[in-house]
């Protein structure tokens, strides 16, 4: 970890890895979508509406995963003052926000035909909406200061305060009565015997891999862009001073 915390070394690493990550993403998405939309069976009650799940569930996983990554980076930034950690947090926030938005929109599109409503204020849906607002709040806060370092630090604190929301999202369906169903494959006991048919697992896992690689690719590109942006700021400051 410490090796790549050096921005120059990270940029060299990112330059080498980004094309490969982009190629893997570009391969996984068509395969995953083919399995999700064509080569998998309909559900016994939902019919073809079940195919929304292959986008909804991976985007929900990524919404949580990206936020968890931001929490880790926020700790590294606040405690060890790694400049790369702060820039990474700032770079991935919009990606996480978009995953959360995709999760909310696809969930709504599924809820209307299946539940009979676009939206309800149950614990799961509300806590995911709060996650979306945390992403937006972080993005607004980071850019609200003249001194970029103060913005990044305030943002990191907001990210960590918001981290209490992650277990709430995960366990909301177990702790309270919700309209949203419980998890089908999340816990380890259920991994061996998931409540989801084996025929539906390949598209779900392929789409999850595709979303993960998309995030990895975008995170590399955006973090590099943040580093470049920071260098330009430094050069401008030096020129203005000199």
């Amino acid at each position: 970890m410490h090796r790549y915390a050096n921005p120059a070394r990270f940029v060299r690493f990112a330059q080498r890895v980004t094309p490969w990550a982009a190629v893997v993403t570009a391969l996984l998405f068509p395969i995953g979508l083919y399995y999700a939309l064509v080569a998998s069976p309909p559900d016994f009650q939902q019919g073809d509406t079940v195919r929304i799940m292959y986008v909804h569930v991976p985007s929900a996983w990524m919404a949580l995963f990206v936020y968890a990554c931001m929490c880790g980076a926020a700790v590294a930034g606040l405690v060890w003052r790694h400049p790369l950690a702060d820039l990474f947090t700032k770079a991935v926030a919009p990606i996480g926000a978009v995953f959360t938005a995709i999760c909310l929109v696809t969930g709504s599109l599924w809820g209307e035909p299946m539940w009979g409503t676009w939206w309800v204020w149950d614990a799961r849906l509300t806590s995911v909406l709060i996650l979306f607002f945390l992403y937006l709040g972080y993005m607004a806060l980071v850019n609200a200061f003249d001194d970029p370092n103060r913005g990044l630090r305030s943002g990191s604190i907001l990210v960590l305060v918001g981290s209490v929301n992650l277990p709430i999202i995960k366990f909301s369906v177990d702790w309270w009565n919700t309209l949203h169903q419980q998890a089908s494959i999340s816990t380890f006991e259920r991994l061996a015997d998931p409540a989801i048919d084996p025929a539906m697992m390949p598209p779900l896992l392929l789409m999850a891999a595709a979303f993960m690689m998309l995030f990895f690719t975008l995170a590399l590109i955006r973090t590099r862009a943040e580093i470049a942006d920071r260098r330009i700021q430094m050069i401008r400051l030096a020129q203005a001073a000199g």
């Binding site: 069976p41 016994f44 939902q46 539940w115 009979g116 309209l179 419980q182 089908s184 409540a195 048919d197």
Partner: protein, 167 residues
């Protein structure tokens, strides 16, 4: 090294504080976070008359009846211990059928009849293709078959196993 450890300590304590505060708040508001109450909650705790609330549970087997006005449906919501009779006027969601989880929103009248103005179907975490559901049913795992590829128009009430009462 010392400053880093101090920062870590402060951060850890802050997170612990925020976590505890959230935990306490959620416990205090527990009743309000519940999206619905079950028939047993109503039987044991009682509900003030004319309060709007949500009632959730399973639609009891052989309980769904279409009323003679043609648009109202009556059914029992059960949690297998207690049941509540519900009457609803309007279009039912695709997944509505006997044995399915539902969440209804409305009021309890003086006679103990729950008058709902909204019925939402609850989907469980089971996902399987129709052939697997049929095979399970043949193997004696209870009636699973739903209006597969359900459509409000294509299915009609017959597939819910509903008696239609006509004038």
């Amino acid at each position: 090294m010392k400053r880093k450890q101090r920062r870590m300590m402060v951060l850890g304590l802050c997170l612990l504080g925020v976590g505890t505060a959230t935990g306490l708040a959620l416990t205090a508001f527990e009743e309000n976070i519940l999206f619905f109450y079950g028939p047993t909650d109503i039987a044991t705790q009682g509900v003030p008359e004319d309060t709007r609330f949500r009632l959730g549970g399973l639609v009891a087997e052989d309980s769904v009846r279409r009323l003679s006005d043609g648009i109202s449906t009556e059914f029992l919501v059960t949690d297998t211990v207690h049941d509540v009779r519900v009457v609803y006027t309007g279009i039912l969601p695709d997944l509505f059928r006997e044995g399915q989880g539902v969440v209804t929103h409305g009021r309890l009248d003086a006679a103990g009849l729950f008058v709902a103005d909204e019925v939402l179907a609850r989907h469980d975490e089971e996902y399987m293709p129709p052939e697997v559901a049929e095979a399970l049913e043949r193997a004696g795992h209870g009636p699973l078959t739903a209006p597969a590829a359900a459509g409000r128009d294509a299915v009609g009430y017959a597939s819910y196993g509903v008696e239609t009462v006509t004038n």
